[in-house]
């Protein structure tokens, strides 16, 4: 991890990978880890609030649909130059297609800078990126 001139802010953070059962009980783990990485990158409280909402909605979306509470979720976090990138993937055979509904889409659209999803029968993935404003 390297630091830039701003006190306590890292220009690059080590990648973090979480692997946990596809159960909602692990949501707080995701939020706290994402907040930690976001804070290292210089996110302020507004941005951390948004980040927690986005992580919540993203992982919740992964958990929806067939085979609920089964399978494994992998959450990868990395960041550099004030940008946090998250890739959350659920691995589970026989997943049904679960579109991102309007409300979740609106929340993600407002809380992160970009997001994308992809699905197949054995994998569902959410990616997003969020930048610190340094305002």
């Amino acid at each position: 991890m390297t630091s830039n001139s701003s006190a306590g802010v890292s220009s690059q953070v080590d990648g973090v990978v979480l692997r946990f059962p596809a159960k909602p009980g692990y949501l707080s783990l995701c939020r706290v880890n994402a907040s930690t990485v976001g804070s290292m990158l210089g996110f302020n409280l507004d941005e951390l609030d948004d980040l927690r909402l986005a992580v919540n909605e993203s992982v919740t979306w992964l958990l929806l649909g067939s085979g609920s509470a089964e399978g494994i979720v992998e959450l990868e976090l990395e960041g550099s130059d004030g940008e946090l990138r998250l890739v959350a993937t659920r691995h589970q055979a026989g997943l049904t297609d679960e579109p991102v509904d309007d409300l979740v889409g609106a929340i993600l659209g407002a809380t992160v800078d970009s997001y994308a999803t992809s699905s197949s029968t054995d994998r569902r993935q959410m990616r997003f990126a969020k930048r610190a404003s340094f305002e």
């Binding site: 909602p24 409280l45 509904d101």
Partner: protein, 248 residues
């Protein structure tokens, strides 16, 4: 006396194992109720009514009786003790721990939120975690955990809220299994109609935040309320919408 009682219990166990006669089961339960109460008493003075604890212990005793296999060679009292203790621990974990934040962290959470409000006012912008850590004297890790506790109103009542006494089963589990039945067009209609049911201010805040992409700070300024208040309204309103969308 004890020997005679043990012999009587052994006889009851043997007969109950073979015949499953309800009267034998009741006699065995009555016979071991003092054991269940003993374990319940060990967990008293932890903010839970003793009568509730005794009921939980009794459930553990019933479970032990149902699962006990005399052929294994372990004494029932030993087996029942472990089962009852496990039931009580699970009770505290599911019913208490999951929804009750440790007092110290709760207090820190309030402290952090107050400090955040003060710093936001002083700096004219949202503070960072290191700034909050410096002002409150807590480590950055603790500040981050405290921030997550603040959103527990959104969290504890949503996906992670435990349902019933089944191990690890949460609202989210039920929600997920229900959701696959709902067509996306129905969801869209549901969301639109639910937005109409919100109070004017809540609807306006959600619209500003998620459809006009305004920051919490901008919304707070526009509505003349604090940013903390906006944050809280967004969390509770989203939670309300989720509950409406997925009543399971």
């Amino acid at each position: 006396m004890t020997e005679a009682r043990d012999l009587e219990r052994d006889r009851l166990f043997a007969r109950y194992s073979d015949t499953k006669i309800a009267a034998d089961r009741d006699s065995l339960l009555a016979s071991y109720t003092p054991l269940a109460n003993f374990f319940a008493n060990r967990y008293s003075r932890r903010g839970v009514d003793l009568e509730d604890l005794r009921q939980v212990a009794q459930l553990g005793l019933v479970a032990a009786l149902d699962r006990f296999d005399p052929e294994v060679g372990v004494k029932f009292a030993t087996f029942a003790g472990r089962t009852i203790d496990g039931e009580l621990k699970r009770y505290f974990r599911d019913k208490t721990w999951a929804v009750r934040v440790p007092r110290s962290l709760k207090e820190i959470s309030v402290e952090v939120r107050d400090a955040a409000a003060l710093l936001t006012s002083e700096l004219g912008k949202s503070p960072t975690v290191p700034q909050l850590a410096e002002v409150t004297g807590h480590s950055e890790d603790v500040v981050i955990e405290a921030l997550d506790v603040q959103s527990s109103g959104y969290r504890a009542h949503s996906l992670e809220a435990p349902v019933g006494s089944e191990d690890g089963l949460t609202i989210g589990d039920g929600l997920a299994s229900e959701r696959r039945e709902i067509e996306i067009s129905d969801i869209k209609m549901a969301v639109e109609s639910m937005l109409l049911t919100l109070e004017d201010r809540e609807r306006r805040i959600l619209k500003l935040r998620f459809f006009e992409d305004k920051s919490q700070r901008e919304i707070a300024d526009e509505l003349g309320i604090s940013q903390m208040h906006v944050s809280r309204i967004i969390r509770t309103t989203l939670e309300g919408l989720r509950t409406e969308l997925d009543p399971s």
